[in-house]
């Protein structure tokens, strides 16, 4: 890709969307990666030759996917309101979640994942537990009690959603209102997860996040990671420049590793190069510099109590 002029960068040369090129200099496109690899690392005088382009493309994309899973810090966020069904459908490019939060009263409240199952499939049962089948032999399904009660707010929580201080019946004494505080009643409580916020559990196969009933009509913010494939639009796939050399090394290693009759020392050399470059790129991306360290160290003399 050619370098952009300032006008192209800031205003996309006057065409909408004008913000299209903002920040684009951080990235190298997939098209460039494949093109550069074919030009510089593949050919008659290179370790790799006579290799189909689709193999190079495959390994380039796989490399970018792997980087998106753990090396890049490119977290996407999606806010949706949770309605009656208490579900949040996972985004189309969702691979894994980072954090689920409730956005309320100007605060972003991180939610805890419910370790218990909160949704289940159910089969329609007759007397004696007999099942009913459709004409095509599939069993007739029903809504599970687990789901029904969760949605109705009848499900008890292990996370203090019930019986906490705010749920106690208050009483008046000499003009002031008081509430019981359950002192000593929560032995064994997992303090790490104990809070008043709603809980959730991700049903990966169903592609939804199931919430408890306290999430009804609330705004949920899902922070998640994708695989960087941009919905299959190859022209939009890109990789941070800090990882550019790593991607070339990754493609080279992947091809050599699966190619017949390549000497082991050549494969090992490629593997070491790839690993070292990944490590370097991760360090670079972590952006450790004196200014940041200084700010962190300023807290060392802070009085805790």
């Amino acid at each position: 890709m050619a370098y952009l002029s300032q006008y192209q960068y800031y205003e996309n040369a006057g065409t909408a969307p004008t913000d299209k090129n903002w920040g684009s200099y951080q990235y190298v496109t997939l098209e460039d990666v494949v093109n550069n690899f074919q030009l510089m690392y593949s050919g008659n005088h290179s370790l790799i030759n006579n290799e189909e382009r689709y193999k190079i493309l495959f390994h380039a994309k796989r490399g970018i996917q792997e980087l998106n899973y753990d090396a890049f810090k490119e977290i996407k966020a999606l806010e949706l309101t949770v309605y009656d069904n208490l579900t949040f459908v996972l985004p189309s490019d969702y691979v894994n979640w980072v954090r689920v939060s409730l956005y309320k009263d100007g605060w972003l409240r991180p939610l805890n994942e419910n370790i218990q199952v909160n949704s289940a499939q159910s089969y329609l049962q007759g007397a004696g537990g007999t099942l009913t089948f459709n004409a095509d032999g599939t069993v007739v399904t029903d809504t599970s009690s687990l789901d029904t009660e969760r949605k109705n707010g009848q499900q008890n929580s292990i996370y203090l959603n019930q019986q906490n201080a705010t749920d106690q019946i208050e009483f008046n004494s000499q003009g002031s209102w008081y509430a019981d505080y359950s002192i000593g009643a929560r032995y064994g409580l997992n303090t790490e997860t104990a809070n008043i916020n709603p809980t959730f559990r991700i049903d990966k196969k169903a592609g939804v996040i199931n919430f408890d009933s306290t999430m009804l009509n609330e705004n949920c913010v899902l922070e998640y990671i994708s695989d960087g494939m941009e919905g299959g639009d190859d022209s939009q796939v890109s990789v941070n420049k800090l990882f550019e050399d790593y991607i070339y090394a990754h493609i080279e290693y992947s091809i050599l590793n699966s190619k017949f009759n390549v000497q082991e020392y050549v494969i090992n050399r490629a593997r070491k190069r790839k690993t070292a470059l990944l490590r370097n790129a991760k360090i670079r991306l972590s952006n450790i510099h004196p200014g940041r360290l200084l700010m962190n160290l300023r807290g060392e003399n802070k009085w805790i109590k």
Binding site: N44, H45, E52, R53, F58, M229, S235
Partner: protein, 333 residues
Amino acid sequence: MTSFFLLIFVKKKAMINAVRNTVLAILNKNNYGYISPSDFNLFAKQAQLDIFDEYFLGYNSQINKENGRVSGTGYADILKGYEEVIDTFSVTASLSQTLLNQYSAPTAATTGSDYYLINKVLIYSVITASGNTTAIGGGNTQLIDNTATFQTDGIAIGDVVSVVLANSVVTNLSVVSITNQTTLVVNVASLTTTNIPYSIYKKVNLKNEAEQVNHSKITMLTKSMLTAPNTTYPAYTQEGDTLTLYPDSISSTGRVVSQYIRYPKDPKWTFVSLSAGEPIFDQSQSDFQDFELPEDDVNNLVARILQYAGMSIREIATVQFGQAIEQQENQEQ
């Protein structure tokens, strides 16, 4: 002051005549080795094809030598010489669309020459505008389409207009000016009728190379999540003289352009009349065709033709002589 322009026409000496003279001189020992012009033309064609073929083998052999560190650079760069010769047969032409995403491989009828090797197939990544002409004008230089929006589409001077005027041949015209939303002016007065299908492309968009994929892989490739062909990474398969482009959306006139290596033209030693039983060489004949190989192949051509001619007249000594010359040439390489 009067300016004088002196035009000097240097007529290239026909290589084919020199080759023929040499061949006849060798064959004519004992006066029984004469070959007719038509036989010579046949042998010449065969010899040229043989040597042309060997350029590709020699090219590969030279690469192996370079990888073995037994080849030099600069004047010792033999590979460059091979490339230069092969590139003289390079042709870039738009392929003729036969049906939807199927295009005809280069042929004499569609691109002007048959292909020896399709080196690459490029596609325009974007069609800037397309449609059918609705009127003619401007001395057949105007492309008029009442439904078009040329200015809105961003058509610019120099853009490529692909049309099929006759016999499936794609003609590429160039935009000279944009009159208004529905009218363009092209560089050649060729739009003589209406309802001509056209597609307009920007030259910078001729950048995506289609990869040749064999039939055993293409089905899996199209099913692949990560590597299915798309307009950024298109692919094609070949069946007979038909190239099938993937994805299917590549189905417009002129969208597919091929750079290929054509066969050398058939050499033809032409003559005007017989003088004392001898045909007199005349290169001004319309069907005259010289060898297309470089001059340093004269020895090779002579050696090859001698072998064919020797076989023809059952003169084994001639065949052996031709083989000896050829062997010597090969050793020198």
